[in-house]
């Protein structure tokens, strides 16, 4: 395997213009599979959610899940697509053991939705990503290859097949070539997938959890010399399954392509695997010849012909779309576009909203999620939502601060405790003994001691230099190991010294 010495990102962009194509698969959250009545619930014993149809047994037939079609139309409408008046499913023929019929029931040249766009915000500016199509298809089963070095089928001793996933409805959303993103290509890619995920979630058609494989992204990338019209040869990086990875994959491929092209080499059209550990990609299967899927219209299914009345009804029932909602929240929360962009990029909008719904003030909710918690998520390399803390728990911490039971430092420790699995905020406060010392007697004693030990400073304060009180507050906080409410300590000091604050 040859290792290509990467070109620096800046040098790559100086010489080449990146063109991207993003293909996102979304598993719909329907109760039953796309073509049969089997459950789609995750986590069941292998092969317990199967029937003759999703096992592809001889004689079985598919029947279209109406909710699946409805979800597809909603997605299409939210992506500003045209909705087909009449379209068919097609068979995509190829052999693979986890595909029960050895063809995938998909859509080919007649997608349910086509010609749309999705506006995304990048650095406070709007970038329009054009949508080629959104079509319906079914998922395959899941293979586990045992005994090989790579976990892939070649070299495996045996393979385990679980068909619970076979037939789960998928919507594949394909962009038109994304041009003009320039050096912002990685951010545009990430912003697009982020926006799409928000959109899917807001429609209620899928939870779109990337870590659960409910949303998967393939990144197609090519470079062309600056100023050229013709697209270069593309690579297809498969299964890039987090927002951060999308950005990294684009960045890596830009640098790799630039290195290959810069050395006078040519890019091979191939699929590549993305590696989370170091953000690199490696060559997968080289397509020796263009794969011929021998698509033809699925004769077992009647065409899908959504009436215009139904489509309009669905359009009328669409929820407030994420970008609109975000602009509303931005105003409500009093944020700049940039600040709101960071909130979106961090995947924090719903978390903050939920925290506010649990009673926290907006600024506090944002402070925690975008500060301490974002830092932790980043350190741990996980999505913000994956942190083991709930919006309700964050709201509870905010409430404890507000009532004076915690100060900022103690609140931080409480959150640390929750993240460490020590229980809810109240439990952590009790276990760690983090409550602010609010016992007036104990606090009074500490204040008296501090005044006695710092007579000179006390005199200055009595003489009117109120600013000097800080030193005494510090002494009291030290004595109480930080567990006092600093504001209250200050009040007590001034009170005891007979000075107005």
């Amino acid at each position: 395997m040859t290792v290509t010495e990467l070109v620096s990102y800046e040098d790559a962009l100086a010489a080449y213009d990146p063109v991207m194509g993003l293909e996102v698969h979304v598993e719909l959250g329907t109760k039953t599979k796309m073509f049969c009545g089997c459950s789609t619930a995750l986590g069941a014993e292998p092969n317990t959610q199967t029937c003759p149809t999703c096992l592809g047994l001889p004689g079985s037939l598919p029947v279209v899940n109406a909710t699946g079609v409805e979800s597809a139309i909603k997605i299409g409408l939210a992506l500003n697509c045209e909705i087909a008046e009449w379209c068919r499913f097609a068979r995509k023929n190829y052999f693979y053991p986890d595909m029960p019929k050895n063809f995938q029931t998909s859509q080919y040249d007649e997608p349910i939705a086509y010609n749309g766009y999705l506006d995304v915000d990048v650095d406070g500016e709007v970038f329009r990503v054009e949508i080629e199509r959104a079509h319906m298809e079914e998922d395959t089963g899941k293979s586990t290859h045992v005994g090989g070095a790579t976990g892939r089928i070649h070299g495996a001793q045996h393979s385990l097949l679980d068909y619970n996933r076979a037939g789960i409805p998928l919507i594949e959303i394909v962009t038109k070539p994304i041009v003009g993103a320039g050096e912002k290509a990685p951010e545009v890619a990430k912003a697009y997938v982020t926006e799409l995920r928000e959109l899917i979630k807001s429609l209620g058609v899928s939870e779109a959890r990337m870590e659960m494989g409910q949303m998967r992204c393939d990144v197609n990338l090519s470079l062309r010399p600056q100023g050229a019209d013709k697209f270069g040869t593309r690579s297809e990086t498969k299964n890039v399954n987090s927002l951060r990875s999308v950005e990294r994959a684009v960045r890596f491929e830009i640098q790799r392509h630039a290195a290959v092209l810069g050395d006078g080499g040519t890019i091979i059209q191939e699929t590549r695997h993305f590696h989370e550990e170091d953000g690199s990609t490696t060559s997968g299967r080289v397509k020796e010849e263009a794969e011929d899927y021998r698509y033809f219209p699925e004769p077992d299914l009647v065409p899908v012909a959504p009436s215009r009345a139904w489509v309009e009804e669905l359009r009328g029932g669409l929820p407030e779309l994420p970008r609109v909602r975000r602009n509303r929240l931005r105003e409500e929360w009093g944020l700049s576009r940039h600040e709101m962009q960071s909130v979106l990029n961090a995947g924090a909008i719903d978390l903050i909203t939920a925290t506010i719904d649990e009673g926290a003030p907006a600024d506090q909710a944002r402070k925690w999620w975008m500060g301490e918690l974002a830092r932790r998520a980043n350190e741990d390399g996980v999505e913000l939502a994956a942190l083991p803390i709930t919006p309700a728990q964050v709201a509870r911490v905010c409430a404890l601060v507000k009532e004076g039971s915690l100060n900022d430092k103690l609140a931080r420790q409480t959150i640390e405790g929750v993240l460490a699995g020590e229980g809810g905020p109240d439990e952590v406060v009790t276990k760690r003994g983090l409550k602010v010392v609010s016992d007036e007697g104990a606090l009074g004693t500490a204040v008296d001691e501090a005044i006695a030990a710092n007579a000179a400073i006390a005199d200055k304060i009595r003489g009117g230099k109120v600013a000097a009180a800080g030193a005494l507050v510090g002494a009291v906080m030290k004595a109480t190991r930080g567990q006092a409410d600093a504001a209250r300590v200050r009040e007590l000091i001034l009170e005891k010294l007979g000075v107005e604050g």
């Binding site: 001889p58 068979r91 052999f95 004769p299």
Partner: protein, 497 residues
Amino acid sequence: MTDLIRLTAAETAARIASGEVTAVEVTEAHLARIEAVDEKVHAFLHVDREGALAQARAVDAKRERGEELGPLAGVPLALKDIFTTKGIPTTVGSKILDGWIPPYDATVVQRLRDADVIVLGKTNMDEFAMGSSTENSAFGPTGNPWDLTRVPGGSGGGSSASLASFQTPLAIGTDTGGSIRQPAAVTGTVGVKPTYGGVSRYGMVAFSSSLDQGGPCARTVLDAALLHEVIAGHDPMDSTSIDEPVPAVVEAARNGSVRGMRIGVVKEFAGEGYQAGVMQRFNESVELLRELGAEIEEISCPSFDKALAAYYLIAPSECSSNLARFDAMRYGLRVGDDGGRSAEEVTALTRAEGFGAEVKRRIMLGTYALSSGYYDAYYGSAQKVRTLIKRDFEKAFERVDVLVSPTTPTTAFPIGERADDPMAMYLADLCTIPTNLAGNAAMSLPCGLAPEDGLPVGLQIIAPAMADDRLYKVGAAVEAALIDKWGHPLIEEAPSL
């Protein structure tokens, strides 16, 4: 007891309902007949003696309890081995399904059981319904009861032969290009291809999904109608199933008449390749229809000349995809799994050994026709021909109520005669294929024996989609007139074996 096997299904049901005979007696009589003659005929691949008798006992118990019985309760039936049967092997005439026991019943089977029809067993067929002689079965050919050295037609030769040899009064077939009608024609029995979507395909192992249609086989028009009514009707498990009331086929069969009807004779189905005796009996039938009060008109359907070519692109294309699932991974035959071979190699070895020559030929044809770069020229053109054929039918049915033609150009040919000549074999379905491509309904019923070989000739009646009842109305009239003429049904002239 021998006369029990010669009764019609309608008579049998009546006698069981009245208590004159029991369903068990009827079933035992047919099982005994199978035992006596099927070694010679080889119509059955599997006889479910115990299951049949258990079902028969249940029917008798129902009657004793005074429960109302359906119109075919207790009547035996032979099922083409293309329908899945829970707990009973289903081979589709192929080695590739060796050892597979389906975990579910086809909708047709479920409806038969619900109607208390006794399923005697599964009948022989060309592998995956690909053929016109039943010689392509992996389990050996079936003999034509009229002459055991000749073919019983195909692909449903097991079903037609079981009827003509009185092993059963009812059978189920499937018709993709003529596999119900052509076997009926060459065995002197009645077979109906209902309107596409009229009978559920759920549990019917697919050959060519857009053409396959299950239907009734019997020795009389009324029996076919009674069976038609049991198996037809909307099925939510089959997306292509028509959600409309089943045409009143039984009523039509009970009131056969052609008086005042306009009947078209398809001009294209005559000439070179048509046996003289077949044309003679067909022309006599047309005269008979005129005598019975029909207006006869010649109708030209020029696109029918291209039907065979279009069929041999569409059916193989769909089959190449439908049969991809037989990969040794989940069920059926598995060859070469010695621990050292890859899944891909095992799949290839299994398919090489498990499929017969005709199936392989069609998979290859279809794979080629669907290939990128060839799709438009082959599959695309064939679909255009299909549209033309539909239009020819539409135009024809603006002028006439039904069309008639010979069912098949020749009588039963000798076993082995066309086995090495696929084109000659394909020509047997020349007259039946247009109906499959257009999706409308057709029937074959006996109209005499060809003078030169004494073998049965079939008359085909073709009706518009969802006008299946017209087939029975015309068929019943012809049948009654011919019985009047001959003094007995034609099938009584079949050898007793």
